[in-house]
């Protein structure tokens, strides 16, 4: 008994010891590796081996006081082992082995161990074993649960917890555990792992385990169905969290990994690339593609300078690739890039040594880089790349030692996502980063809000940037710009417009760094910021549907990125001109906004837009506004008609009143006559004594009636007076209503008004572009930007103003050295002033250049045969000459101006807008061009008059004075009628003659009124029969087809419903002779310009067509567009443009077919053709060459580059014609 009891106690002690050991192990696993490791004896080892093993363990534990529990447990077990009989040891051996194995094995082996235990338990049927076994399983499943929870399998996690709870209950219950349980739990672990590998089959097995009676789970069928659904859904959603799983894998302790499929060491890629890593590698690949493109662009047919330029560009791209590779963790690749760049630097120093073999070497290298990027993680990755770099043709080749050192760095096994996340500065601008595409699920309300805010913010932003650039800026401006960039970024991100969000994000970073360093951006950075501001502005316009997305967005973003990265890397440096990372050696074009008025403090200027930003805005379709406008016009017309009726009524009332007065008089006369009759009657007939003589009339009926009639007529007159008063009141009401409807119409009109400042950015851009092309420096100052004018008129003004700007820079401004020599500032000063003058807008474009060269104009005019040598000609006449078509003093045609399209075109455009142009020049001091453009009239004050049988309304346009006949003397001087008033003499013309109305009267008519009308610089007296009325009239157009009839502003509907034309007397005075001649002349001019200056743009993409159209129109060309080759051919059948700009791929007929067609046509075969395409391969270039394309440009194409190419083709064409 004692022996038994002793035996039992010993075993219990052993159990306790092993339990302590496991507990210790579990607690240590949760924190960190305990650093203890033992070699467990084999299962069949002797008790002594086990005692040694535990002794060893105890010794290791003794080294650390934290391991005292372990030490105690080991000693206890050691003691027990010494007391065990061989049989008892045999029973306990498996358990001992399992415990020791914990200290050397991973979790999966624990399971194996458990299986061994299980077998032992089955064999030995010992009641002590299940408890330990369950504890082991609990530990294992706890670990599993923890893992699945991390992976986001919350459903599976809950089920694991359920199993753990159940196992805890089982371990505490007295119920004997069936032998099935261990295998069940093994299956559980296996199925859970299978489930983690997205196996749907595992779900059924998991559910069937849960149903197992041994677990005795309190669930019904519904619950199991729910579990099933939960698990199925969870697997489906796991795709979304794959990336998270990858991250977890990186950080999961090794022992947890063993629960997953063990990675095969021989596999090339240990783990799949995360999405982020994949993106980074793609980025490197894109950059490599760009370098490849740069290398391919190098041509040995082109001059040395061009090769050098391409090499320089490639070198810069290579720098970017080096940076990007370093950042992503491709140290080996970065090293090779540096090596190649060192070679390029040497080529650049000695460009003559750069031969075809070197070129091929570069191309080979970049293709090796691309191949390497496809397999960077494979064994031996980069070997070929390094071998290529050992080629002796490199000036600086890679030594074998260096190659050997680099090889390990080339093989990138894993990408450090964390570092990429913390330092994820973008380095390369991609198309996605400049995309203005709206997301499919865009929130319309948010988008509307953004579209309302954007223009206001952009205005403030560019003002702040321009203040900084002009040197008047302060740190406050940096703060303002940064704040706005931040706000726009946030809004753009919310709406999902990546292009704006990315650009503003980078700008914000730069500005934040400047604000932090308390430094203002230097000139180079300022240039980049100005470009970025222009680009943002264009993006904003594009979103508002006012223009196309900017072409240079990618370049601009790249520039900004380079700066942002440079600043992030090196911070803001003290030197004013720290190395600029881009090469674009653009001339610094100075552009400046209006200086704040002296009366207005700078604070006010900055706060003003903020206030306007707070006004709530509504976007309304244009046609709705037009409809409102039409309705308000109808109201005015209707009011006029009522007014007219009321006036007639009043006249009739007046007539009636006169009648009543007459009636009253007649009544009085009648009464008098009756009285007389009575008196005479009394003298003749004595009526008796009963009545007094004065009482006789009471009995005279005639007398009574006449009396009543007099009274009635008095009453009627009284009533008519009251009626007149009523009509007067009604008149007042009508007048009030008229004012109201006029105000309504004006309010509606104002919705179409835009501030002149809205075109200032476009003008500034135009100036900068021309400066770049001419190599001159100009500064543009605008005044009157706050002026509000009709949007259509303003848009129509842009083109002539662009012409004037180009002319001012190209013809006006002298070269820098000349300016310095005459003491003018280096930067040319150009000012555009906007002003309102009556119903016209006055624009003055002033430059401080050399002014008009009258001797040169005279000479050219003589050469062209405009007048004979020696003929006296005034400067005013010469000024008129330069307004004639194709008159240019420039001997050489340049891209910006000098194609004969200078003042003449501006004059033509201004005339077609109904305006006038005048020139004021002082030699050596500059030229001022003054444009006077009438604003569209919707309403005008007009005089109603008769011209022969016609009733006409004369608009107040140009009217300076109305004189009544006899105000002056009309005399005939040299067969011309003139009006003499005091010292002034005015030429006289009759309205009938202006309108060519036949005057059938032979005698000289009497003219009731004389109108003095201003036309250009001269005042003319217009004789009018009589002015019948003067009133406010609503001017209506003559319909879509009869848009413009010479001499008419439009027509109006009068109060009586009749329609009368509203005359434009100045226009009639401008073309008093039969209009046929002048109009034919204008037509000829139009045809002349359209045939000479047109460029045909052929592209199937609407946006591309529009973009090209804008660039070319702004550059002074007329543009005709076609959607594909067929359309182009149809147009070419009757027209011949200067140049054809075509896309390659188009429906129906592509660009190559179009070019081939043109080359076969006798009339067109020399027509220059430029192809713009995204295809950059040699094959396509070759095909284009064969088709006869003159220039093959790969998208994206810089505006300047395109214009230069067009100019060179035009020059070539001219020289061929001359030859």
């Amino acid at each position: 008994m004692i022996q038994q009891s002793n035996n039992s106690e010993t075993l219990e002690e052993l159990e306790l010891g092993l339990h302590l050991l496991r507990e210790f192990k579990t607690s240590q696993n949760k924190t960190h590796d305990n650093g203890i490791f033992i070699e467990p004896p084999a299962t069949e080892s002797s008790v002594e081996d086990y005692i040694d093993a535990f002794k060893n363990l105890a010794n290791q534990a003794a080294l650390n006081e934290c391991y005292s529990d372990l030490y105690d447990a080991c000693l206890l077990i050691e003691d027990v082992l010494r007391q065990l009989s061989p049989d008892e040891f045999a029973v306990a051996r498996v358990n001992l082995f399992s415990s020791l194995n914990d200290w050397s094995l991973s979790s999966s082996e624990i399971i194996e161990c458990a299986e061994v235990d299980n077998e032992t338990a089955t064999t030995h049927q010992d009641s002590a074993l299940p408890l330990t076994l369950i504890t082991d399983y609990i530990t294992t499943i706890e670990q599993l649960a923890e893992l699945v929870n991390k992976e986001g399998y919350s459903g599976l996690y809950s089920l694991n917890l359920l199993i753990i709870d159940t196992l805890h209950e089982l371990s505490q219950s007295t119920i004997a555990v069936t032998t099935d349980l261990p295998s069940l739990l093994d299956n559980w672990c296996r199925e859970c792992n299978a489930y983690r590998q997205n196996s749907l089959d595992a779900i059924d097995n998991i559910i069937s385990i849960l149903r197992h009676p041994d677990l005795n789970l309190p669930f019904d069928e519904d619950d199991f169905t729910t579990f099933n659904t939960l698990l199925v859904e969870e697997i489906g959603s796991q795709d979304n969290v794959e990336q998270a799983v990858d991250t977890v894998f990186d950080n999961t302790p090794d022992e947890l990994d063993t629960l997953t499929t063990v990675a095969d060491d021989d596999n090339d890629i240990a783990e799949p690339l995360s999405a982020m890593a994949q993106e980074l590698v793609e980025l490197l690949d894109t950059e490599a593609g760009l370098i490849n493109y740069r290398f391919l662009a190098i041509s040995f047919d082109e001059p040395v300078d061009s090769r050098k330029e391409h090499l320089q560009l490639a070198s810069e791209e290579l720098d970017r690739l080096t940076n990007a590779a370093t950042m992503v963790g491709f140290a080996g690749l970065a090293a090779t890039c540096t090596q190649v760049n060192a070679n390029i630097a040497l080529y650049l120093q000695h460009i003559d040594s750069f031969r075809l073999t070197n070129h091929e070497l570069l191309i080979q290298w970049i293709s090796e880089v691309k191949a390497y990027l496809l397999a960077f993680s494979k064994n031996g990755a980069g070997k070929q790349l390094l071998a290529q770099m050992s080629n002796p043709n490199w000036i600086q080749r890679l030594t074998p030692e260096a190659s050997a050192n680099l090889l390990p760095l080339m093989q990138v096994k894993g990408l450090n996502d964390e570092s990429a996340e913390t330092d994820s500065r973008e380095t390369v601008a991609t198309d996605a980063n400049i995309s203005l595409a709206l997301p499919d699920d865009v929130n319309k309300e948010l988008l509307d809000l953004l579209l309302q805010e954007l223009p206001v913010y952009m205005q403030q932003f560019s003002e702040a940037i321009q203040r900084l650039q002009s040197g008047n800026g302060s740190s406050k401006d940096i703060d303002v710009a940064q704040r706005i960039a931040h706000t726009i970024k946030g809004s753009a991100n919310t709406v999902g417009i990546k292009g704006i969000a990315v650009l503003t994000h980078q700008i914000e970073d730069i500005l934040m760094a400047c604000a932090k360093a308390r430094k203002q951006p230097n000139a180079a950075l300022m240039n980049t910021l100005i470009n970025a501001s222009d680009c943002l502005e264009a993006m904003c316009e594009s979103l508002l549907g006012l223009g196309e997305p900017p072409n240079d967005a990618r370049e601009t973003l790249q520039e900004v990125l380079d700066w942002a990265n440079e600043i992030a890397k090196n911070g803001i440096q003290d030197t004013p001109d720290f190395i600029k990372p881009t090469t674009s050696s653009a001339n610094t074009t100075v552009a400046q906004h209006r200086e704040p008025d002296s009366s207005q403090s700078p604070k006010e200027t900055t706060t003003e837009p903020t206030e306007s930003a707070q006004v709530a805005m509504v976007r309304v379709p244009t046609n709705q506004i037009e409809n409102l406008f039409k309705l308000s016009s109808e109201s005015i017309i209707l009011n006029g008609q009522i007014y007219e009726r009321q006036r007639r009524l009043k006249n009739q009332l007046q007539a009636m009143e006169a009648q009543f007065t007459l009636l009253q008089q007649l009544g009085a006369e009648l009464e008098q006559l009756i009285d007389l009759k009575d008196l005479s009657g009394r003298s003749l007939v004595n009526t008796g004594k009963d009545f007094d003589a004065l009482e006789m009339d009471q009995y005279n009926e005639l007398h009574t009636a006449s009396r009543r009639m007099v009274e009635a007529s008095v009453d009627a007159r009284e009533i008519s007076v009251d009626m007149k008063k009523e009509l007067d009141t009604m008149n007042e009401v009508l007048e009030y209503q008229q004012r109201l409807v006029i105000n309504t119409q004006e309010a509606v009109m104002q919705t179409r008004f835009v501030p002149v400042g809205s075109i200032s950015l476009r003008l500034q851009r135009g100036l900068r572009q021309t400066c770049r092309l001419t190599g001159k420096q100009g500064e543009l100052k605008l005044t009157g930007e706050e002026l509000l004018i009709d949007g259509d008129t303003l848009s129509a003004l842009v083109e002539p103003l662009m012409h004037l700007l180009r002319n001012a820079i190209d013809h006006g401004l002298e070269p820098e050295e000349e300016r310095v020599a005459v003491g003018k500032p280096l930067v040319g000063q150009i000012a555009i002033e906007f002003d309102r003058e009556g119903n016209s807008i006055l624009v003055r474009c002033r430059d401080d250049g050399r002014g008009l060269d009258f001797p040169a104009i005279r000479q050219t005019a003589q050469q062209n045969g405009h007048f004979k040598v020696g003929e006296a000609i005034t400067e005013d006449e010469l000024k008129q000459l330069i307004l004639r078509p194709n008159f240019s003093t420039r001997s050489q045609s340049t891209q910006t101006s000098g194609r004969g399209v200078g003042m003449d075109v501006v004059n033509f455009q201004v005339l077609s807008l109904g305006g006038s142009l005048s020139l004021h020049s002082v030699w050596g001091q500059g030229l001022t061009v003054e444009l006077r453009i009438p604003l569209p009239l919707s309403r005008s004050h007009a005089l109603l008059a008769n011209a022969g049988p016609y009733k006409v309304a004369i608009s107040s346009k140009g009217l300076t004075q109305i004189l009544y006949s006899g105000a002056g003397d009309i005399k005939i001087i040299s067969n011309e009628q003139v009006l003499i008033i005091g010292d002034d003499i005015y030429p006289v013309v009759k309205l009938e003659d202006l309108l060519r109305v036949n005057d059938r009267r032979k005698e000289e008519r009497y003219h009731g009124a004389i109108l003095l009308v201003q036309n250009a610089d001269k005042i003319t007296a217009v004789l009018v029969d009589a002015i019948t009325d003067s009133r406010e009239v609503v001017i209506k157009s003559l319909g879509y087809y009869m848009r413009k009839i010479h001499g008419f502003v439009g027509a109006t509907i009068l109060g009586d419903g009749s329609i009368t034309p509203v005359l434009d007397i100045p226009e009639l005075l401008r073309a008093p002779r039969p209009a046929k001649t002048s109009h034919t002349a204008i037509e000829e001019e139009t045809q002349y310009f359209s045939s000479l200056q047109t460029i045909l743009v052929v592209d199937d993409s609407l946006s591309q067509r529009r973009a090209l159209e804008q660039i070319l129109t702004d550059a002074g060309f007329r543009v005709h567009t076609a959607r594909d080759g067929i359309e182009a051919v149809e147009w070419l059948a009757h027209s011949k443009p200067l140049v054809v700009v075509t896309d390659l791929e188009m429906p129906r007929m592509n660009g190559l077919e179009l070019a081939s067609h043109i080359r076969t046509q006798e009339r067109l075969k020399t027509l220059p053709i430029i192809m713009i395409t995204s295809r950059s391969t040699e094959k396509h270039r070759l095909m284009a060459d064969e088709a006869g394309i003159d220039f093959y440009l790969v998208k994206p194409v810089q505006d300047d580059n395109l214009l230069t190419k067009i100019q060179s083709l035009i020059d070539k064409q001219h020289s061929t014609v001359e030859a």
């Binding site: 009839i1045 419903g1057 009368t1060 046929k1076 109009h1079």
Partner: protein, 189 residues
């Protein structure tokens, strides 16, 4: 014949034609084309007369006959430009096609005004009689008679029926030409 044609058409889907069928295959078809042609014309055409000429306008075009509206003449314009009418607030130019085409104008008191188009795109003509639905059964003329130059570009086809020449006119094109012509030629003195 029609039955025969149906049969051959049916056969066409399934089998090859017999030699006889193949030889007569196109005959009935030619007759069919004629009917189809006239069917399309008979479907929706209004005809109106101006002097000696007849004009056709498809019924899908917005047009209306206007009565009792005062035509307000304008000074300094072509004789064919009769003036303007106020059509529900829109000013509509009135054209005398007879004068435009070089014929002598008939008494306007006996004529009607006929407007084509809506809103600011409306233009009105003087017409003789009222427009009628026309059923044109004849083939279109292979060659158009010599037309006044202004009409040449705007006429897409002509028919001769009931001793009357009818022209298919692209009115939009005609109005545009008139607008251009107007500014080009400007006023007659």
């Amino acid at each position: 014949m029609a039955e025969n044609h149906l049969k051959t058409a049916k056969q066409q889907d399934t089998d090859w034609l017999s030699p006889t069928d193949a030889l007569t295959h196109f005959l009935p078809l030619a007759a069919e084309v004629n009917t189809a042609d006239l069917a399309t014309h008979a479907e929706a055409v209004f005809g109106f007369r101006v002097g000696s000429l007849g004009f056709l306008v498809t019924s899908s075009t917005y047009c209306e006959v206007i009565e009792q509206l005062q035509v307000n003449p304008l000074p300094n314009v072509e004789a064919w430009f009769s003036g303007l009418i106020n059509l529900r607030g829109d000013l509509v130019p009135v054209i005398d096609l007879q004068l435009l085409l070089g014929e002598a104008s008939t008494d306007r008191k006996k004529r009607q005004l006929f407007a084509i188009g809506q809103g600011d795109k409306a233009m009105a003509f003087w017409i003789d009689g009222l427009p009628e639905i026309q059923h044109i059964f004849t083939q279109s003329l292979k060659q158009l008679p010599p037309l006044p130059s202004i009409l040449q570009r705007c006429v897409s086809g002509g028919y001769f029926q009931n001793d009357q020449l009818w022209f298919n006119v692209q009115f939009d094109e005609l109005f545009k030409t008139l607008g251009r012509q107007y500014t080009a030629e400007e006023t007659a003195s």
